[in-house]
């Protein structure tokens, strides 16, 4: 009888004691906890490269990698939000620059500005102004961009295009001509995998940019361009037409399986961000040999930015180490170590081109020259509230193709997110 009571009591006491010891240790040693959703492939390799640069400079700091797996950070963001609201932030965390950073974390008072750090480290001189603006609020800088991905790229299987004497389309009109030819030969013109919903929204975002131009596109997020206007109507109609040329099993696939269709020769084209280039490289597919690339139809001269940034949470437990981490993330050395592995380009414009492959070099050239516009689907252009509804509305549109209903729903979502009146 007494043993039955004693054992659970002992176990409980032991657990309490252990958790106490752990808490003490956390306070004693020099530590740095970095939160991200980079857990696999080139992303994890890039993160580790950053860690080793940090280790070289600060060998006495123990780095805790608090990465949470899951594509596009869906699971990681839920964990992060719980931790932040519970007053238990990591020392620094991965967040998309733009609305996701500003609306979710800065305006709500969770972040500390790092403007003086940005000035002393000279970041403001080497990072394009448009990009600095995406991580700033009321004149203060709140995060340092680690990398830049491009969202608006058309990828195509070179062999299929060569065999059929086709030219990759520069506009959506060209696209439909090419697609008709390909369809006639029994090849799926455009591959899509929209099981996770955002992939279809990503394609539509590029069509919006093509139809409205960068000015009109940016106006969507400030209420200047109307969701119920003729521009969005035309974009939705183009989207509906493009959907006639995609693979029929698109709802069963995710983005990398859609990219795989190009490698397998099952589809000719794919519109996706340039993480696809990283996927192709991992599969041994070479740029300009096996696959070709150009800006998504009608978006030449615009560069849709998807940027991962790191900032400083207000209650960061190891502030000193966190500031050093930001110094590494923003440094030329850090960005040159991270980006070739991650398959993205530097947020700085002074990185050594020789360290990057053919595709990334061309992306670097465009980045320096093009008009930079934020991505809605990847959290930079609009609050997360809107981004979630945007995905939902387009998910319904892909099946129903009801332009009027989609426009009405988008307008309502815009009002709910307080972007328009």
């Amino acid at each position: 009888m007494s043993r039955r009571i004693c054992i659970p009591l002992l176990v409980t006491a032991l657990l309490l004691w252990l958790s106490g010891v752990e808490a003490l240790q956390a306070g004693a040693a020099k530590q740095l906890e970095i939160f991200s959703w980079w857990t696999a492939g080139g992303e994890a390799e890039g993160l580790n490269a950053l860690f080793s640069v940090y280790k070289k400079k600060y060998p006495d700091v123990e780095i805790m990698n608090a990465a949470v797996a899951g594509g596009a950070g869906a699971a990681a963001k839920a964990v992060l939000k719980t931790r932040m609201q519970g007053g238990n932030p990591p020392d620094s965390f991965q967040v998309h620059g733009g609305a996701e950073l500003i609306e979710t974390w800065v305006k709500t008072g969770f972040m500390e500005p790092i403007t003086s750090l940005a000035q002393t480290e000279g970041w403001l001189k080497v990072i394009p102004k448009d990009l600095v603006e995406m991580v700033s609020y009321q004149g203060q800088v709140y995060a340092i961009p680690a990398n830049v991905h491009r969202g608006n790229v058309l990828w195509y299987n070179k062999r299929i295009f060569d065999q059929n004497n086709l030219k990759p389309p520069a506009t959506w009109d060209d696209f439909f001509k090419v697609a008709e030819t390909l369809k006639g030969k029994g090849i799926t013109p455009l591959s899509l995998g929209d099981k996770l919903k955002w992939e279809a929204a990503h394609l539509f975002e590029d069509i919006l940019l093509a139809t409205l131009g960068p000015e009109g596109y940016n106006g969507l997020w400030t209420g200047k361009t109307s969701w119920t206007g003729s521009g969005v109507k035309r974009a939705l109609e183009t989207f509906a037409k493009a959907l006639q040329y995609v693979n029929s099993d698109h709802a069963a696939l995710v983005w990398d399986q859609a990219a795989q269709m190009l490698i397998d020769g099952k589809a000719a084209m794919n519109v996706m961000g340039d993480w696809v280039a990283g996927y192709f490289t991992a599969k041994g597919w070479k740029p300009n040999v096996d696959y070709g690339f150009l800006p998504a139809p009608g978006t030449k001269g615009s560069f849709v930015i998807v940027t991962d940034t790191f900032g400083l949470p207000k209650k960061a437990p190891h502030r000193e180490q966190a500031l050093n981490w930001l110094r590494i993330v923003g440094s030329k050395e850090g960005q040159e170590a991270f980006n070739p592995k991650k398959g993205s380009i530097c947020a700085r414009t002074d990185c050594d081109k020789a360290k990057f492959d053919v595709y990334l070099q061309s992306s670097m050239a465009d980045f320096a020259r093009d008009k930079l516009v934020p991505s809605e689907v990847h959290g930079s252009a609009a609050p997360e509230t809107f981004a979630t509804e945007f995905n939902d509305i387009l998910n319904v549109f892909v099946t129903r193709r009801d332009v009027g209903a989609a426009q009405k729903a988008l307008q309502e979502a815009c009002v709910r997110a307080k972007m328009c009146k």
């Binding site: 939000k81 709500t108 029929s248 099993d249 099946t399």
Partner: protein, 293 residues
């Protein structure tokens, strides 16, 4: 007298921690969720000002939530019917004292040991329209059985039901088998002596005696299906035009992706209500039968 009260004291002392824990972590949090669902907390910063039923009304108007409720009802009914039917059939077959009964029993029970996530991923591959069972049908000349499965909005939810039934019908089989073994032989003998056919024995003797088993199975499977999240999330996500979306997935995305905490809480409360509709009459029934003569 002293002895009894000491025992009682120990009993209370031992129960107290779990009572307090359940009180806070179950009922306290249900209360908190209910409170949040009536607030204006639809940004990342807590705003607990009273909003009345605004969140519930917004949900009722939402296309996605209407689809969710419809899907939940279809899923629950078909899943329950199929699991109970197949479970009972398998149990009756196994009860015929077949050879290698233990082997079959384990084969049918094994899926239950797998997590819903694994089931979801596996069935996602199996029912992939271009690489899954459709290829198999082609090769054995059963091409007419080919289907677009979960990529076809009109039947997508049934693909998820298929996976769920595969996983849980072994469980109902085990319950029915235990029930069948518990039927006293004397009753069966008596019925046969009275000239009942084997069908009549099942219809009028065995099935009525299995009612309590059916009730338990309905409760267990019913609350799983009303709250289902992991299977759907792993297998199809929301599906084309929300054809496989369920309240659990909507709640997760609304709360943690869209930062609409009050609306997420409102979805949770409606889920709780749905489960309560199923569970409360059962609790009431068991309490009455236990208290009764």
């Amino acid at each position: 007298m002293l002895r009894i009260s000491l025992d009682r004291l120990i009993a209370i002392a031992l129960l107290l921690p779990s009572l307090v824990a359940v009180g806070i972590f179950v009922y306290g949090f249900i209360g908190w969720t209910a409170y949040v669902s009536l607030s204006n907390w639809n940004t990342f910063v807590p705003d607990l000002s009273f909003a009345g039923l605004t969140n519930y009304l917004a949900l009722m108007r939402s296309f996605r939530f209407q689809a969710d409720l419809r899907n939940t009802l279809i899923f629950t009914f078909t899943f329950l019917a199929a699991s109970l039917g197949i479970g009972l059939l398998l149990a009756v077959l196994l009860d015929q004292r077949v050879r290698g009964e233990a082997v079959f029993r384990n084969i049918f029970l094994f899926p239950m040991a797998i997590s819903f996530i694994v089931t979801g991923v596996t069935w996602q591959w199996l029912l992939n329209p271009s690489t899954g069972v459709n290829l198999l049908f082609d090769q054995v000349g059963l091409g007419f059985l080919k289907s677009r499965w979960y990529t076809d909005p009109s039947i997508a939810i049934f693909s998820v039901v298929l996976a769920a039934v595969w996983q849980m019908s072994g469980f109902t089989m085990a319950m029915y088998l235990a029930g069948l073994r518990g039927v006293p032989d004397e009753l069966l003998e008596a019925a046969r002596v009275d000239g009942a056919t084997e069908w009549q024995v099942y219809r009028y003797v065995i099935l009525p005696l299995l009612h309590p088993v059916t009730l338990s199975a309905v409760i267990v499977l019913g609350h799983i299906s009303l709250k289902i999240f992991d299977l759907v999330y792993a297998m199809t996500g929301s599906g084309p035009a929300f054809s496989t979306d369920v309240p659990g997935v909507f709640m997760f995305e609304t709360t943690f992706r869209g930062n609409r905490f009050a609306e997420g809480a409102a979805i949770s409360m409606i889920m709780l209500l749905l489960v309560a509709i199923l569970i409360v009459p059962y609790l009431w029934y068991t309490m009455r039968t236990e208290a009764g003569p």
